[in-house]
């Protein structure tokens, strides 16, 4: 099996520390975007990365006042699987709250009622994904031009010591519309003496 281009003779080279693992640009509406580790030593194998970063730019087709988007790690969906703290601002006030324990990194994205062609942006940082630690991640998101205009930050922990092998991006109601984009990056370490 051939090594990825950033491994030469078994040694990491000084190439890009952020490796593009996957990108999805929806041609049809979808309620979920899922990435699973390929576990094959290639670019899609999560086990070689220190961190993962997700960049998404999305909109929902749901009618109504708001639509949520959030993360499930390793198919964890039960009550108590996550803990978190969020902070949001809507232009006139800021709010802190404790999010649901069935998911992490929740934010509101523009939906069918938002100004045409407006999408919301979100960046997730997953830390030390192959360690025996709980899997903690940070979220920053922005959603404007809709019925909910918000800036978000969220700290989340998925209470598992297992490596992250799957990430699901989920919209709670309706679908991400066609044209929504999702990118997954692996962040490499550099172990030095």
């Amino acid at each position: 099996m051939a090594d990825p281009s950033y491994i030469v003779d078994g040694v990491l080279t000084d190439s890009e520390a952020w490796v593009g693992i996957a990108h999805a640009s929806l041609s049809l509406p979808a309620a979920t975007v899922t990435w699973t580790s390929t576990d094959d030593g290639q670019t899609g194998d999560f086990s070689q990365y220190m961190d993962l970063v997700v960049v998404m730019y999305a909109r929902s087709d749901r009618a109504g006042t708001w639509t949520d988007s959030y993360v499930h790690v390793n198919n964890m969906t039960s009550s108590g699987d996550y803990a978190g703290q969020d902070l949001s601002g809507n232009g006139s006030s800021v709010t802190g709250s404790v999010p649901s324990t069935t998911r992490g990194g929740l934010w509101y994205l523009p939906n069918a009622g938002a100004t045409a062609n407006v999408f919301g942006c979100c960046v997730y940082h997953f830390f030390d994904i192959n360690s025996g630690k709980y899997k903690s991640f940070l979220t920053s998101a922005a959603s404007d031009g809709g019925t909910e205009n918000l800036a978000w930050m969220v700290a989340s922990t998925a209470k598992t010591q297992a490596p992250i092998t799957e990430i699901d991006l989920v919209t709670g109601s309706g679908n991400y519309i066609a044209g929504s984009t999702f990118s997954l990056f692996g962040v490499l370490p550099r172990m030095v003496a």
């Binding site: 000084d14 952020w18 961190d51 978190g84 630690k133 700290a155 962040v187």
Partner: protein, 175 residues
């Protein structure tokens, strides 16, 4: 030339009082990514203090916004400090689960410029800490010194970074 390069990863195999990055390379900007915890038995969630170039003078300031323990929000100033008050947030021994580490992304911009003061931004989270508390933190910090940054010292206010703490320094190149 890569746009983002990993300069050095420190993954503590034993508790350590501090972590220093002293080979910073020649990049446009720096980023430090942290998964950390401390061992100070009297401490709950704690800060990561930062000093540049070994400067112990009162030349640092930090301004914050944060949410904590559910509905609480706040903003605080820390001026005339001898260190960056909170370059990030880490969990401690009072955190119920020993597997729970705090996380931070620290951006240090234009660090090699010898005519600008150094400004940085930090985003951190400590979740499900002591008594079930959680903490989300976003802040700016200033080192009031125009010298190019040549070394970065990170340390907890008390005790040491716990084994398993991981910090990686990245360099960001421009075109």
């Amino acid at each position: 030339m890569a746009v983002i390069e990993a300069i050095a990863t420190t993954y503590l195999e034993a508790d350590a009082a501090s972590v220093t990055f002293s080979s910073l390379g020649s990049y446009e900007h720096l980023q430090i990514r942290v998964s950390g915890r401390h061992n100070n038995s009297g401490g709950a969630g704690a800060s990561i203090y930062i000093r540049f170039n070994g400067d112990t003078g009162s030349n640092y300031s930090t301004h914050t916004m944060q949410a904590y323990n559910g509905a609480n929000t706040g903003a605080d100033p820390y001026t005339g400090q001898a260190y960056v008050y909170a370059g990030g947030r880490i969990t401690g021994p009072l955190t119920p689960s020993a597997s729970n580490y705090g996380t931070s992304v620290i951006d240090i911009l234009d660090y090699r410029n010898g005519s600008k003061n150094t400004t940085m931004q930090q985003m951190s989270g400590v979740v499900d800490d002591y008594s079930g508390n959680s903490f989300l933190w976003f802040s700016s910090s200033l080192w009031d010194n125009t010298a190019a940054v040549t070394s970065i010292l990170l340390y907890p206010p008390s005790g040491s970074f716990l084994r398993g703490t991981e910090m990686t320094l990245y360099g960001l190149n421009s075109a």
